[in-house]
């Protein structure tokens, strides 16, 4: 069965961008996610899948940003969690 026209992108989340030294990597994940959920007109409880796109080692002084950490801070408990490769 074809996947053609079966799935859709329904929300986009942006954040401030450029040189923002006072912000953590995790905070950009969370703001982008919260904005995408609001943009789609969904509630965070609706989100049952979470993919952390790509992978980078953490910056010095920061914890690793895992999909578990993003889910915990967003206050969601997805059925599907995935960490992408670089």
């Amino acid at each position: 069965m074809t996947l053609k026209d079966k799935y859709a992108v329904v929300g986009v989340g942006y954040t401030p961008q450029g040189r923002i030294p006072e912000r953590t990597t995790l905070s950009f994940h969370l703001e982008a996610c919260a904005n995408a959920i609001a943009d789609a007109g969904l509630r965070r409880e609706d989100i049952d899948g979470l993919i952390a796109y790509r992978y980078f080692p953490p910056s010095s002084g920061e914890d690793e940003v895992t999909p578990y950490l993003v889910a915990e801070h967003l206050g969601i408990s997805p059925a599907y969690l995935f960490q992408d490769a670089n």
Binding site: A8, V9, Q17
Partner: protein
């Protein structure tokens, strides 16, 4: 593709794809890039991604005669889009062919403006079924076709640096699924870590033959008012770098008609978009994803 797999298998209904980075102020991306080189490469001055792509571009110069005359048109065309996008990091900075040619070499043959930005920030998108999307607030933007191909080989043994890269088979798969041809594409959002990446990707998708990019790009083909707009947010060269999420998010926003002064259609003297082709790319041209989106 992972998101579609998770939805198709019924494991979940709404997939959130999350990305954030402190590439400008933190050292996470640099740590990854330092690890990209292997063995004795560093002894010969090959660090990170720029060196690898510079080698690929140099090979392409030899194979089919590309070079800065082609790449400057990509850098300048994308910057003209960024100048219409208040969110773009380079929104207020104009770029001419003269200032491109006058900029310093970072790694030959790449000048400063052949390189993408390194920024702090984040981006996220949400995928669900078309059926559920119809109940939500925005126009429905569906995935019409997708394909992936991963040549994978290490740079030292790669034979794809001047094409065909993974774009060729990934593109063929996406077009086959969508059941359309290149003539049906209204605009492209192409992964652009370097200007050359845009050229080789469009070449491998078949928009022009090897080395014909110089003529294809000339006269503002990809810029506002052009016949094939490319990277209409400014892309990673001039808007912001979020890898595949820069092209994907822009394609979605354009198809939804939410792009203000850079909106494709009458606002920018371009065709109103129905179908947009996108790409993502990993390693040194070692992994490639192609996806075709449309408004339904």
């Amino acid at each position: 593709m992972h998101a579609v797999g998770a939805l198709e298998s019924g494991l979940c209904r709404y997939v959130l794809i999350s990305y954030g980075q402190s590439a400008r102020s933190g050292n996470s991306m640099m740590r990854m890039l330092y690890h990209m080189t292997r063995n004795d490469d560093a002894v010969y001055g090959h660090f990170g991604a720029a060196g690898g792509y510079a080698l690929a571009a140099r090979r392409a110069m030899h194979e089919f005669g590309t070079g800065p005359e082609t790449w400057k048109q990509i850098a300048v065309g994308q910057r003209a889009w960024a100048n219409r996008n208040p969110r773009a990091i380079m929104a207020d900075q104009e770029l001419t062919e003269e200032s491109y040619m006058a900029s310093k070499y970072m790694i030959e043959p790449f000048r400063l403006f052949d390189n993408c930005l390194m920024n702090d920030g984040g981006r996220a998108v949400i995928l669900t079924s078309v059926e559920r999307a119809r109940d939500l607030r925005h126009p429905v933007v569906s995935i019409m076709g997708l394909g992936q191909h991963n040549p994978s080989s290490d740079l030292a043994t790669a034979d794809f640096l001047a094409g065909p890269t993974g774009a060729k088979r990934a593109g063929e798969a996406a077009f086959a699924m969508a059941g359309i041809s290149r003539n049906d594409i209204d605009a492209c959002q192409i992964y652009d870590c370097f200007t050359y990446t845009v050229e080789i990707t469009l070449q491998d998708y078949g928009f022009f033959g090897p080395g014909e990019g110089k003529d294809w790009f000339s006269g503002g083909t990809i810029a506002p008012g052009g016949r094939m707009p490319v990277n209409t947010s400014g892309g990673q060269l001039s808007e912001a770098y979020y890898m595949g999420l820069t092209p994907l998010s822009e394609a979605v926003m354009q198809l939804m008609g939410r792009c203000g002064k850079r909106q494709l259609g009458p606002e920018t003297s371009t065709k109103s978009p129905g179908i947009i082709l996108c790409s993502d790319n990993g390693g040194i041209l070692q992994a490639h994803a192609c996806y075709i989106l449309r408004r339904i």
